[in-house]
């Protein structure tokens, strides 16, 4: 069993996201450590991309801040290797296909493995295109994490059957970003997945409040939060570490004992 999957064994998992290099990598490093200290079960490290088509305005803006600050894939890989020595929480990369492809997918995955990365999430690589990435991920012991969406319907079984680590359930139509209400039928999505696989399912997109986290955790095995954290970082910049710590702690607390 992969380390990421194990992270779901101690109750509902909380999975925070951070855009690497926003506003700089030194801050990211401190934020990731504070997320781990606050009880994060898995941490998603976003490698910024110039044109992130699955992201809403908050994470788009973070990508712009990070890239204009001069962050690169190489610098992020170096940072990851550094943090790996200090924390024990499983780390996954979330980025876009061209970031891997352009670096050389195999070269990227080899370096990612050496940096201690356990999984990758590529929102612009659907099931139909994963053969280009998933086998290479496997070669380097990295899980290729698949997404299902409210529109996936009959595709869910096909995707869940081959899913690794955990199934990323996209809660809502549209792009990433906080939403006041989540209206999709999450339990129907997770039920379809559970029919063919015992893989944990974590819900992401649109979740920002402890109440939403509780609601989503009751229907799944974990909760992923991106934009709400990135918004905090946008607001507090280099001083966001303690705000992120408090936030992650409150969210983790909210989904305890569900």
């Amino acid at each position: 069993m992969s380390r990421i999957r194990k992270a779901f064994e101690g109750g509902k998992a909380f999975i925070p996201f951070v855009t690497c290099g926003d506003p700089d990598l030194e801050t990211t490093e401190r934020i990731v450590k504070s997320m781990a200290a606050a009880g994060a079960d898995v941490i998603e490290l976003g490698i910024p991309f110039s044109d992130p088509v699955a992201e809403g305005p908050v994470i788009q803006a973070a990508n712009v801040r990070a890239l204009s600050g001069g962050v690169t894939t190489d610098k992020i890989l170096d940072m990851t290797a550094r943090i790996r020595g200090d924390i024990d929480v499983p780390l996954v990369f979330m980025t876009y296909a061209n970031v891997l492809f352009s670096y050389g997918t195999e070269r990227f995955l080899k370096r990612a493995r050496d940096a201690g990365i356990g999984g990758v999430i590529l929102p612009d690589v659907p099931f139909e295109e994963k053969a280009e990435f998933a086998p290479l991920c496997r070669k380097y012991g990295i899980d290729f994490i698949s997404l299902v969406a409210p529109t996936s319907k009959e595709r869910i079984e096909m995707i869940a059957r081959e899913a690794e680590s955990f199934l990323y359930c996209v809660s809502s139509l549209g792009v990433t970003g906080e939403r006041s209400r989540i209206t999709s039928n999450i339990s129907e999505m997770t039920a379809l997945a559970k029919k063919v696989s015992d893989i944990p399912a974590a819900v992401g997109f649109g979740i920002s409040t402890p109440a939403q986290a509780r609601e989503m955790a009751a229907l799944s095995d974990g909760v992923i939060v991106g934009s709400a954290i990135v918004r905090l970082i946008g607001e507090y910049g280099r001083d966001s570490e303690k705000h992120v710590y408090e936030y992650v702690k409150s969210m983790k607390e909210a989904i305890k004992n569900i």
Partner: protein, 394 residues
Amino acid sequence: MAKGRYGIHGGQYIPETLMNAVSELEAAYDKYKNDADFNRELEALLNEYAGRPSLLYYAANMTRDLCGAKIYLKREDLNHTGSHKINNVLGQTLLAKKMGKTRVIAETGAGQHGVATATAAALMGLECEIFMGEEDTKRQALNVYRMRLLGATVHTVKSGTATLKDAVSETMREWTARMDDTHYVLGSVMGPHPFPEMVRDFQSVISKEIKEQMIKKEGRLPDAVIACVGGGSNAIGAFYHFIEDKSVRLIGCEAAGLGIDTPSTAATIATGREGIFHGMKSYFCQDEYGQIAPVYSISAGLDYPGIGPEHAYLHDIGRAEYTAITDEEAVEAFEYLSKTEGIIPAIESAHAVAYAMKLAPTMDKDKIIVINISGRGDKDCAAMARYRGEEIYE
């Protein structure tokens, strides 16, 4: 490997949320593309509404002036709405109607595709929203007004470089949020399968007509077909029925902007490399880490960092040639065609005219060149005047 490949290019690199919408589109297109009734309806729209077939005009003055190959102009600028974009838009909106969609969304660069989409939406009673980069809404203010006049809502896109690529990203995001009642009328031979194939099929009427008209006028095929290339829809339309005719040179003209050795360029084949973006694998202008480059061209319609996957393939196998034309060369050609033939071409199409001006004098007088005049230049007049230092107001 997924469907819709042209060699290694193409594919469907899109978020899972869109996969069923794209599959639904693919199934609908497969059903209707060979449907007699659908094709009859489309042909009627193209002929009765858009004004097809477009003329193949012998440019006698230009031919005489350049002292080389005979030059013909394929007059897509004479279509309703003023460019080739209407060919694809009528096909896609008719298909959207058949699919039961009530709303269409589209990106636009120069505004030609947005105007064509807003026009077809008005004709067919569809709700219409257009996404246009802020930079382009300034360069092409008249087209913004035209779209609004036609009943469309125009969204100004401020993200990224605020040009065509950002308009495409934003339209994709909008489609991800609402697809039940909405069809994305993609304007070029790009994006995920089935768009590159479908748009090419709808635009291939251009080369079908050129072939028939040329046989009628000259009794033979042309020696070269020249078209400008951004995403590449008018070029693939002009090339398609000649791909098997190896004697016909197919030449795509990219926008070099200030020059391919400067960062201010949009010439993808000349300066890009293989990548994955906007749903497809193809050539893209990008940095060493795969970040998409902020490209530049005087022409809003060619100001795009990628090229359609079928062009990438035609380049790989050497069937089509791609060359880059600078802003200055394009503006000269814009002025040249206006003065020589009394035809004001779109600044996009002027890139093709510029290359023909270089090529024709090197060819014998019994050779024949066809230039695809993909659009008319009225929309560019104010910007061209400004380029020449004359402040005029629309």
